[in-house]
Symmetry: D3
C-alpha cells in the first residue's frame, strides 16, 4: 500500500498530464515491487513559483540568475 | 509535541467538520500517549480530485471504474 | 481515501498504543466525513529526540529549560 | 525541479529495486513534464509494518483479517 | 541535497518575506552542513487558518481562548 | 506556529549540528515573520543514501557519475 507524493512547481500541468503521472507511478510500483494498485495512492501538489526555492532564491529568480551567468 | 497531517480529497468538508477532526485527533493523542494538547499540531490538506490518484487513475475516474465493474 | 501522518517523538510508544492511534484516527474519519476505512491510510513516524526541535532547542534541552525557568 | 516522496512498508525492498524506482519516477517526470533530471529528487521512506495502518488496523492485522473473511 | 518544507498559517507573508526564508534556510544549510545551495530545495506551504489546529482547536479559536483565559 | 521539516542525506550530522539547524531555522522564523518560538517545530529526517535519488540515480551513484563526467 504505497503512498506517493509528487511536488512540482505550478506551471500549467494539465489534468491529462497528471493522470499520466498517476498511472506511470502506479505501474512502476506494481512492476518493481508487485504492489496492489487498488491500495496505491498518488497525491500531486502544485507549488506556486514564489513558494519554491533553489540555490537560495525563489525559482524564477534562480532561473534568471542561471541565464545571466551563462 | 505531536504533528499530525490529514490529507483528504476536496469534497466540501466544512469548517465545523475540520474542527471536529482537529479536536478528535488531539483528544486521541492525549488519551493514548498523554500528549500535551497545547503542543499538538494538526494540519489538514484538502487535495483537488484531479491531484489524487488510486488504482492508477485520478480518483473520479477510479470511482466510475468501480461502479461500471460491479 | 484519506492519508494521515502522525509524527511523535520516539519515547516508547508500544505497538498496542500505535494500533489504538490507527483505529482512533480511522474511526474519526469514518464518523466525521463518512470515509471508507479500507482506503484510509495512517502512517506513524517516531522521531528521535535529537531530531525534534521546539523553542529553538532540541526537545530534551527545551524541556530542561522549561523546568529550570519555572 | 520536482520532489517525489515514496512511502512503502518495510518488506525487503533491495537497493536495486530502490534504484529502479528512482530511475522510473525520474524518467516519468522527464517524459510527461519535461523536467530536468538533475533537479529531480526522489526520497524513499520504508515504514515499519506496525507503523502503517489501513482499515483501522496495523497492516499485518489487516491482511490477516482480509484472509479470514474471504 | 537537502529538502526543506516550511508550513505556516496563511496570514499575509509577502513574496519578499518568503524569499528571505528561502535565502535564510539555504544559507544555514551551507554554513552548518556545507551543503550545495544549487541542490537545496525549500518549499513553503501556507495553510488556511481553518486547516491548522492546536490545543484541540482551529488556530483562531485557540488564540481567542488564550486571550479570554488570561 | 510554523512546522519545518528538514530532510538531509545521512552522512554524519552531529547532535550539535542538528541543534544549530533547529536554532537557526527558529530564529529565522522569529525574525522574518515574528513567529513565536515556543510554537515553532523543527523535525529533521536523515535519509539513507540508498533512499535518496537525484538525476535518476541513487545519490552515491549520481556523485560518481558527476566526477567521471568532469
Amino acid at each position: 500500500m504505497p503512498y506517493v507524493n509528487i511536488k512540482i512547481t505550478r506551471e500549467g500541468a494539465t489534468p491529462a498530464q497528471k493522470a499520466e503521472l498517476i498511472k506511470g507511478v502506479t505501474d512502476l510500483l506494481v512492476r518493481v515491487l508487485d504492489k496492489n494498485p487498488a491500495t496505491t495512492f498518488v497525491v500531486i501538489d502544485e507549488v506556486a513559483m514564489e513558494d519554491w526555492g533553489v540555490g537560495g532564491l525563489p525559482v524564477e529568480a534562480y532561473r534568471t540568475s542561471l541565464k545571466s551567468s551563462s
